[in-house]
Amino acid sequence: MWSIPGRPIKFEHLKALQPLQVLYDFDGPRTFTFLDQENELYLAHWCDEESDRVRYIAVPFSEGLLTRLEHGQMSLREALDQPRVWVLEVDQEGQVQSGWRVNLSDLPEDVLPRPGTLLLPSLENEPLSG
């Protein structure tokens, strides 16, 4: 897999990526929210995987941002473009094995959602709601 352009970090407050709300599923959860051990909300977005590990882009999130994402008022790329961005590598049991603090703009373009892509295709055909 691609080399992660970031700083390795310890994720002691985050042992497992257990989806709280699955926002998009395809052969398993691809985009979902989860809580850390202090009940802080995060958004995770699948970006790549190999046989023994899966990589997600993860960012601190909020109910307000979640509402905007679900209503098509914010694209997936915009949702991930937060002041703090991590790439998390988890094993096939969902346990976090490694983490990196990254800049979204430093990640390979083909691991990111295309600019303007909304959470669901149906949202792209609707006038903005909310």
Partner: protein, 122 residues
């Protein structure tokens, strides 16, 4: 035709219907190969997710949904494969929005062979 013996008891559920109709799936190779149609159960991946859904394959009923999938997750594959499912291929159930369907193939089915039409996403 039967499902593999190592699937969970009661999987797929009784409300799944005989497979039928056009479906779309992102694949990484053209023509698609067996690796493009392996389930999480086949690969031993995502062990912390629903055990029955792990035995199925995600497909879409509409091409536009597969195109969106590529834009959201480019690493899933840059080709859209179209298949025509028939009852002898297994059972399906709509398991997500808007046209996300899970297909549980019978053990004997050559999955890739059902998807001969492949189009590269530009």
């Amino acid at each position: 035709m039967n499902f593999p013996d190592d699937w969970p008891v009661g999987c797929p559920s009784q409300d799944a219907e005989p497979a039928q109709g056009e479906v779309y799936r992102l694949v990484k190779t053209n023509p698609p190969g067996p690796q493009d149609f392996k389930t999480n159960h086949d690969m031993g991946t995502r062990k912390n997710t629903d055990p029955c859904l792990r035995c199925g394959l995600s497909v879409f009923r509409q091409k536009v949904d597969a195109e969106h999938l590529y834009r959201a997750y480019p690493r899933l594959g840059k080709f859209i494969a179209k298949g025509m499912l028939k009852p002898e291929h297994g059972v399906t159930k709509q398991t997500g929005r808007p046209t996300h369907t899970t297909w549980w193939p019978y053990e004997q089915v050559d999955r890739a062979a059902i998807f001969p039409d492949v189009e590269e996403i530009i």
